[in-house]
């Protein structure tokens, strides 16, 4: 019967569906998808893994958005106070473990874990071994190890004593008690990182190379000089008062569970010696030199340090970076920029005069009257200053060209001027100055800009700093050692100002260790301005409470010569007792009960 046949067909269909193999229907994920085992079989994939570890290196090119190490010291006043400008929150004291700002703890430890994992697995990569030999594997391993050490350094400069993970890669499914690790005393952290850097320095090449040849394509990878430079700065910090014999009352309970102080209260002069030796080791590599422009023009030399990528002064370079953002934020409004990176009067007052003396000492300095410079009335405060001043600071009526400006023109900061406070709700400098150090005038991406960017490598470490590190440490370890003046003077010479006790029109050499220290600090403030050093220097020298607070600038509310009056800047730069270090997040403290908060938070 017809309908019976149909019924039979129905039943058959039902049965077929019912008994279809379930397993096959649901088995869909192919076996040959990418997984971590595969990553460590292929060269290009392993190199991508390594590149990701490299990317953890903080991009310090854009301090407005990326880090607090510029603009929260006494160097710069970022004009913005809004939610996106986190430096402002730090400056007004609105930072704590519940209100985290620029918290790099997680990112850096992520890099540390990846580096550990990479070192444990890169030996599995037979493809690299086959194509380039064990050398490349060893070198990549050394690069990862260097990066791990550098990340620890970055953690330590921001958070003080840290948790040392060693080679440990904790499994993600480990029970919670395996995550209860404590911080090690700062000195132990230093010892660990220094040992790592020493060992890895021996393995790293002097210059980037591939298959035994210098390789342009590999510039930017870790080198011996980078390892030694990081070590030099770390040891300098470790020898400084913040970490060496710090007996601040706030640290009374800052101890390990066994009662050992996390920051040593005992002063150890040997630390300065180690720091000096470490800096000298970089210098003695003899492959770096201060950048000098072939024309001999000091201003061009000083600008070239940053604009001439990969020059011989640059030791540790981050090629990809956010300097474009820096450019735009520094450029005045009349050039299409955001007009908001204002050096403080305190910084302006720190630049030397062309005679090599500080303004307070020099007869060339005057705070009265004006000088006609190419038809512009220039306040005498800005006359006869050293080349670094003219490289670094855009002051009222200084000439600038860049951004959307088609020809050089004076820049003013009068209230009603083109960059003044009355012309825009937020984009006006509150100090009456703008920064022009390491600002590429070609960059033209601000309002009405054509999007042109002048990208350039960012030097995170350069020889100029190492000279000053060396001079400072040696002056503490071995006052009177001739190298102290030698390297300090090399910096001054390149800056185009008279040296102490040497060269043309010499100034008297500092007479005492104290005097020398003052001179080194003064030089450092100017030479390394706006490069992210001042933030750490005022902490490690423990002068932050004195230099921070109310900072000054010109009177930007004015439209006439009363502009040239020192007035407090609108935004204070507070330094709270806790501000020596960054807070450890509440999130972290809740998950690691062995971890203690930094003092004062």
């Amino acid at each position: 019967m017809n309908s019976k046949a149909r019924i039979a067909a129905n039943i058959a269909l039902f049965s077929v569906l019912f008994f279809t193999s379930c397993r096959k229907y649901l088995d869909q994920v192919p076996n040959d998808r990418l997984n971590m085992d595969e990553v460590f079989k292929k060269q290009s994939l392993s190199e991508q893994f390594l590149a990701n570890i490299y990317s953890t290196i903080l991009d310090e090119g854009d301090p407005i958005h990326n880090h607090p190490f510029i603009g929260t010291a006494d160097d710069i006043d970022f004009t913005w106070s809004g939610g996106g400008t986190l430096n402002y929150a730090v400056n007004v004291g609105n930072m704590g473990r519940a209100n985290l700002v620029f918290d790099f703890w997680q990112g850096l430890y992520g890099g540390i874990r990846s580096a550990n994992y990479f070192m444990q697995h890169i030996d599995e990569n037979d493809e690299i071994r086959r194509l380039h030999g064990q050398d490349m594997i060893d070198r990549y391993k050394a690069e990862a190890r260097f990066l791990r050490a550098y990340f620890y350094f970055c953690l330590m400069r921001q958070y003080g004593p840290v948790i040392l993970m060693g080679d440990k890669v904790i499994a993600p499914d480990a029970p919670a008690d395996q995550f209860q690790l404590a911080r090690s005393p700062f000195d132990s952290c230093v010892d660990y990182v220094v040992k790592e850097l020493d060992e890895v320095a021996a393995q790293l090449p002097l210059v980037a190379q591939k298959d035994g040849n210098v390789s342009d394509a590999d510039y930017g990878r870790a080198t011996r000089g980078m390892a030694l430079a990081v070590k030099a700065r770390l040891l300098l910090y470790a020898a400084s008062p913040q970490y060496n014999g710090n007996t601040d009352a706030l640290l009374a309970n800052f101890k390990t569970s066994t009662g050992a102080p996390l920051i040593s209260p005992n002063y150890d002069p040997g630390k300065w010696r180690k720091a000096a030796d470490a800096a000298k080791a970089v210098i003695d590599m003899d492959i770096y030199s201060l950048y000098k422009d072939p024309s001999g023009d000091p201003l061009k030399s000083l600008q070239g340090i940053f604009s001439q990528g990969w020059n011989a002064e640059q030791i540790f370079v981050r090629k990809g970076n956010g300097l474009i953002t820096w450019d735009v934020h520094c450029e005045p409004r009349q050039a299409g920029g955001w007009s908001g990176v204002g050096p403080t009067q305190e910084m302006v007052d720190s630049y030397f005069m062309s005679d090599g003396k500080l303004p307070s000492e020099s007869p060339l300095y005057s705070e009265t009257g004006f000088t006609d410079v190419d038809g512009q009335q220039v306040y005498n405060m800005y006359m006869n200053r050293e080349p670094r001043f003219y490289r670094d600071v855009t002051y009222n009526n200084s000439i600038w060209q860049g951004g959307t400006m088609s020809k050089p023109a004076p820049v003013t900061f009068y209230a009603n001027g083109p960059n003044g406070r009355n012309g825009h709700p937020t984009d006006w400098t509150k100090t009456g100055y703008l920064c022009r150090k390491n600002v590429a005038p070609q960059t033209n991406v601000g309002s009405g800009g054509n999007g042109q960017q002048q990208s350039r490598p960012l030097a995170l470490f350069r020889l100029g700093e190492i000279y000053l590190d060396y001079a400072e440490a040696l002056n503490e370890a071995d006052p009177g050692n001739g190298d102290v003046l030698k390297y300090l003077n090399m910096i001054r010479d390149r800056a185009g100002i008279p040296q102490y006790g040497a060269g043309v029109n010499p100034l008297p050499a500092p007479a005492s260790q104290d005097e020398m220290r003052k001179r080194i600090w003064a030089e450092r403030k100017v030479e390394l301005a706006y490069e992210g050093h001042r933030f750490f220097d005022i902490r490690r020298w423990k002068i932050a409470p004195q230099v921070m607070g109310v900072l000054h600038g010109m009177d930007i509310t004015k439209n006439d010569n009363s502009f040239y009056t020192r007035v407090p800047t609108i935004t204070p730069h507070l330094f709270l007792p806790s501000y020596y270090w960054w807070p450890i997040s509440q999130y972290e403290l809740d998950r690691d009960r062995a971890l203690i908060e930094n003092p004062g938070y």
Binding site: Y25, F49, A51, A89, N94, A98, P425, T426
Partner: protein, 1111 residues
């Protein structure tokens, strides 16, 4: 609905008459029974023959038993056999067999009403409609207390001769409430029957089938489909408040993007809580279904109802069936309406002068050392006087970009009808809606928001043989959307960010204005000068089902199989542009406006395209069994299904893999005398997303019920409480829709993440980054244990019915990331696990009151209420240091923040209080130091609110009808919910400077001169310089509201001569006001939009006028 007719009817003794309505169509009656009750025999015969067998119950008794042995006989032979030897006869009237006493051979000594001699008969005629005004065919019309009667014909008309003494006509029809009409002197009686709500015959849609309502033990609620027929495009926004058990809110009113969040009995998990939504048995998105095409809308809430869906059922199930054809004359319905739309509420911003004054105050507070005010008095004066608006703008941006009114319209036509062999339902619908953005006449293109949609539905039922039925359905929709080149979100956010005083709408010299700040765009330019985007969506659903009756193998057995194929497509094309922006810097000595260019635009339209689409195959086959043995009713079902869904434009490898599941489902129910009920269900499912060996799970459920009102001891109070049923169910259901991560059992590698650049001398050696993505974990679905205790009660002669369900759900194995791993471990993405647990408890209830006050007046009141509170048992996080911070033991989704104590009264008080970060002064919010450690930090955060999802959702509404008029209202409310304020436009000067609007209520703030202890805003400052705007109880406001969602006035006309003249049998004219008004303590924006700054496209209110016609 067709199945409704096939359900075995239980006998009901109703005012002396027993009616059996059956609709099988066998010409050959088989009946082999010994000692069978006469009415059982009639029942059987009626069912097989398709005839109504109508008789007076007093003619014979329950004890009247006969032996019958009939094989393939006709209806007359069968009835003859039954009545053999009895003093009864019968006549066949159309499709009815009327059993009557044999005419007496002698004179009756005591004449009964049905044996009256020399009857004086009168003739009554009329027509019977359903509540839609369609004629009902085959309605039994009986003169009460007599055997006289007839059935309506194919036009729904009848003519009955009433014997003398007949005073009342009884109209009865399967599925409809019987109705009695007193004849009085009427000659023509037209009647509209209403659908039956009776507990015995009513059926409910359950998973993979239907059940008689009386024997159901699960927790289901149904949405009155009529209430869904509102003038809105998107159905999802209508559900909350229309059915017990739905928790929902709608967060946007943008045409085409106005989906509401819907949760059944709230949220019980940290992962997806979205219910499973099935349209005609297949998982489908119902938002664009035309409500006119919906036949039933059911919500399955407890385990017994959802266990058959196994791993998909834990979040509850929504079942929607579309209309099918009915046997009868072709009925045509048409509807058209048109209306205006307006925003329910628009935020009100401060005007320019106020903005400037407030800015000065806040600026002074933040920067006291600045000797100058932020804005000069001259500027403020010029702004308030609107002098030179190029330089002193004062713009209400919402007024600039938004119109006051939009409009919408709907049109639809449907046709249904059919014969015994085939029935059909065809419909086509059109909807369009115009948004409220303004357009600029200068633009050649149209950038206004317009959404239009065409729906079509066709359902065909073919009775291929007497035992084989085939259903075919094809339906779908096509929608077209037109939008500005910039997304609505960015236009609203631009309007929120742009202060009234920064730029004018455009400069008087014709240039487009724009400030220098890169991320502040001119809202008007970004709306009208940004090009346009079009969006086209199409959706096709098709299903084919064959049902085979297997009675010849085993009585009550049937087999069904279904195949469905769905396909959807989406094309978005945006043609965007931007204009050059200029900013005025002043006027030169000649008064000419000086401007600088602030942005470079693209004056030509760009082109960008996005496509999307998907397809799904679904297969289902089932064996069903249903039989009644005396007072025992048994049903059984075993079902197999599998589904394969492919995202045709998947963005990555993992999501390109088909989404599949397969499974078995089963159900067995038993009912004794409709009194004692038992039910067991199971789902056995597998999902492709879990590891082999972990893919299949069994989800059982059990239920029991007791219809107390069926007990004999209940008879005493049956007049007060006519119906009482108690139900209890327990079961386990799963949720495999755990989100987060598919195939968690395989590890992934994150590619194209941050890399590094190497190379000097112009050599670019940029290497992409790669790292661990997600770690492999062996996880499975979430498992929910659900308990439900329900009671159904009817009182006052069925006028009031109340259903209350108490529920508890324990959800375990919730798919969560481990939260107890510290950052220093460096594990980028914490691994998932089945580690969370939530206990959800609550109650939902439905109340129906239906009271006919008089012949003309009728009152209906419906209400429903849902309350639930999910409590976290395990959130996989590290324990918090202080008890008030614990999430465990607290409501899931509860809000945490600082506890505001009020405002600091003096700087002295600040100094003497626990330390708060930032610059804190008198007038700032003072927080409670819960730890007592002298400072306010994260450890001082405590529960401060219910969260953004309400705990209570309710709806109610009366319908009053008088003759042909009816007025219906529906109110919807939510409670136990709050709103946390944050963001641009709300937080004054969040970015410093002229960024961010100020709400008009900004004047209500603390100042030293007006130290109001409880103003809306604390002391105003520029930027982020203290803790005032941290999440705190100060900014947590009640989000409760009561909304008059609909107000509808109807006028019904049928049987009017002038209508008939144009072929219209029935006409209904209506006016609907939707979202007419809202009562809420929250005033800043439409309260339903919820958290943040209110920068969403507000909800709409509409006023529609229209008509429905039946031909």
């Amino acid at each position: 609905m067709k199945l409704l007719y096939c359900v075995t009817k239980t006998l009901l003794c109703f005012i002396g008459l027993l009616l059996i309505h059956v609709a099988g169509f066998s010409q050959h009656i088989n009946l082999h029974k010994k000692n069978v009750q006469l009415f059982d025999a009639f029942k059987s015969i009626g069912k097989q023959s398709g005839y109504n067998i109508v008789y007076d119950a007093s003619l014979f008794s329950r004890e009247d038993k006969i032996d019958v042995d009939l094989t393939s006989v006709s209806i007359t032979e069968a009835i003859d056999a039954c009545l053999r030897g009895k003093a009864l006869t019968y006549r066949i009237d159309g499709k009815s067999v009327v059993i009557e006493p044999k005419p007496a051979g002698r004179t009756e000594s005591s004449p009964g009403p049905h044996t009256a001699q020399t009857p004086r008969r009168s003739i009554i005629s009329g027509k019977v409609f359903n509540d839609q005004g369609q004629p009902l065919i085959g309605v039994s019309v009986i003169v009460k207390g007599t055997t006289a009667g007839t059935n309506t014909d194919s036009l729904g008309e009848y003519q009955v001769s009433v014997p003398e003494g007949g005073r009342t006509l009884v109209f009865s029809y399967v599925g409809y409430e019987p109705q009695e009409i007193v004849i009085g002197g009427q000659k023509i009686i037209n009647v509209a029957l209403v659908l039956k709500k009776s507990e015995t015959n009513d059926v409910v849609v359950v998973g993979y089938g239907i059940q008689k309502r009386i024997t159901t033990v699960g927790a289901q609620s149904t949405v009155d489909v009529e209430q869904l027929k509102q003038p809105v495009a998107n159905l999802t926004g209508l559900l909350a408040g229309h059915a017990a058990g739905i928790i929902g809110v709608q967060r946007s009113g943008e045409p085409g993007y106005d989906n509401a969040e819907i949760y059944i009995r709230g949220i019980s998990t940290f992962t997806s809580s979205s219910p499973l939504i099935l349209v005609d048995g297949v998982e489908r998105d119902f938002r664009n279904v035309d409500p006119e095409d919906i036949a039933t809308f059911s919500i399955l809430k407890d385990a017994s109802a959802t266990a058959v869906y196994g791993v998909r059922g834990a979040n509850g199930v929504i079942l929607i069936t579309t209309k099918k054809g009915r046997v009868g004359k072709t009925a045509i319905n048409a509807q058209y309406d048109q209306g205006v739309t307006a925003f329910t509420k628009l935020p009100q911003f401060a005007d320019g002068a106020t903005y400037l004054k407030i800015s000065n105050e806040a600026y002074k507070n933040s920067f006291p050392s600045d000797p100058l005010p932020r804005y000069t008095d001259g500027r403020i004066d010029s702004t308030s006087k609107h002098l030179d608006p190029d330089l002193n703008p004062d713009v209400d941006w919402f007024d600039v970009i938004l119109r006051k009114y939009g409009h919408n319209r709907r049109a639809r036509v449907n046709v249904n009808g059919g014969s015994d062999k085939a029935q059909y339902y065809l419909s086509i619908g059109y909807y369009d809606e115009t948004g409220m953005f303004k357009t600029d006449n200068l633009a050649k293109y149209n950038s206004s928001i317009r959404f239009s949609r065409y729906n079509f539905t066709s359902n065909l039922t073919l009775n291929v043989t007497k035992t084989t039925k085939v259903d075919f359905g094809a339906s779908g929709w096509i929608s077209n959307g037109n939008y500005p080149g910039n997304g609505t979100g960015s236009i609203f956010s631009n309007a929120y960010i742009m202060s009234p005083v920064t730029i004018p709408v455009k400069y008087s010299n014709g240039l487009s204005s724009r400030p220098r700040t890169a991320d502040m765009a001119n809202p008007y330019a970004s709306l009208t000068q940004s090009g346009y985007a079009t969006e086209f969506n199409s959706q096709l659903w098709s299903n084919l089902r064959a049902t085979q009756n297997l009675d010849f193998l085993l009585k009550g057995l049937s087999l069904t199989g279904m195949f469905s194929f769905d396909n959807s497509n989406r094309h978005q094309i945006s043609r965007s542009k931007s204009v050059d922006g200029y900013f005025a810097t002043g006027r030169d000595s000649a008064g000419v406006l000086q401007t600088i260019q602030t942005s470079i635009g693209n004056e030509f339209l760009g082109y960008d395209r996005h496509n999307g689409g998907s397809r799904r195959f679904y297969l289902e086959s089932a064996i069903n069994y249903k039989e009644t043995f005396g007072r025992n009713s048994v049903t059984g079902m075993i079902l197999y299904n599998q589904s394969d869904y492919v995202d045709a434009f998947a963005g990555d490898f993992i999501s390109s893999i088909p989404y599949r599941y397969m499974g078995l489902a089963g159900r067995a129910t038993y009912a004794f005398d409709n009194k004692y009920l038992a039910e067991a269900n199971f789902g056995y499912n597998g999902s492709e997303t879990f590891a082999p060996g972990n893919r299949f799970g069994l989800f059982p459920s059990f239920g029991a019920g007791w219809v107390a009102s069926q007990e004999s001891f209940f008879d005493a109070i049956k007049n007060t409480v006519s119906f009482l049923k108690l139900r209890f169910t327990y079961g386990e259901v799963g949720n495999s829709n755990i989100g987060g991560r598919r195939f968690a059992y395989v590890s992934t590698v994150a590619q194209n993440i941050s890399g590094y650049s190497y190379g000097r001398n112009n050599i670019s050696n940029d290497i992409n980054g790669l790292n661990f993505g997600e770690y492999a974990v062996n996880v499975s679905w979430e498992r929910a244990k659900k308990y439900n205790l329900g009671i159904d009660i009817k009182t006052f002669n069925n006028a009031i019915s109340l259903t209350v369900d108490l529920f508890r759900e324990l959800r375990r194995g919730i798919f969560l990331k481990r939260g107890d791993i510290p950052y220093f471990a460096g594990i980028g993405s914490n691994p998932y696990g089945n580690i969370g647990a939530v206990n959800n408890k609550g109650i939902d209830a439905t109340l129906d009151i239906n009271k006919r006050l008089s012949k003309d007046w009728n009152i209906i009141f419906k209400g429903n209420f849902t309350y639930n509170q999910p409590v976290v048992i395990d959130d996989a996080n590290a324990p918090w240091p202080y008890p008030w911070q614990q999430r465990i033991g607290r409501k899931l989704g509860a809000r945490f923040g600082y506890v505001a104590l009020g405002l600091f009264k003096s700087d002295q008080e600040v100094a003497n209080s626990p330390y708060q970060t930032g610059i804190t002064k008198a007038g700032d919010i003072k927080f409670k130091d819960l730890t007592g450690d002298g400072k306010i930090d994260a450890n001082d955060m405590a529960p401060i609110g219910y969260g953004s999802l309400p705990e209570i959702v309710y709806g109610f509404g009366p319908t009053v009808s008088y003759k042909n008029w009816s007025l219906a209202a529906w109110f919807k409310g939510i409670a136990h919910v709050d709103i946390a304020l944050s963001g641009n436009g709300f937080q004054p000067f969040i970015y410093g400077g002229e960024r961010g609007n100020l709400y008009a209520n900004i004047t209500d703030h603390w100042t030293p001169d007006n130290p109001n202890p409880r103003p809306f805003y604390p002391r105003l400052t520029y930027g982020n310089d203290n803790m005032n705007y941290q999440s705190s109880s100060w900014w947590t406001k009640s989000g409760a509201f009561l909304r008059m969602q609909t107000l509808e006035l109807n006028y019904d006309m049928h049987d009017k001569r002038w209508l008939k003249g144009v072929g219209i049998s029935h006409m209904n004219i209506y006016f609907i006001a939707y979202n007419l008004m809202t009562v809420s303590g929250f005033k800043l924006w439409d309260v339903e939009l919820g958290d943040g700054n209110g920068a969403q496209y507000p909800l709409l209110k509409t006023y529609n006028l229209g008509a429905r016609l039946s031909f």
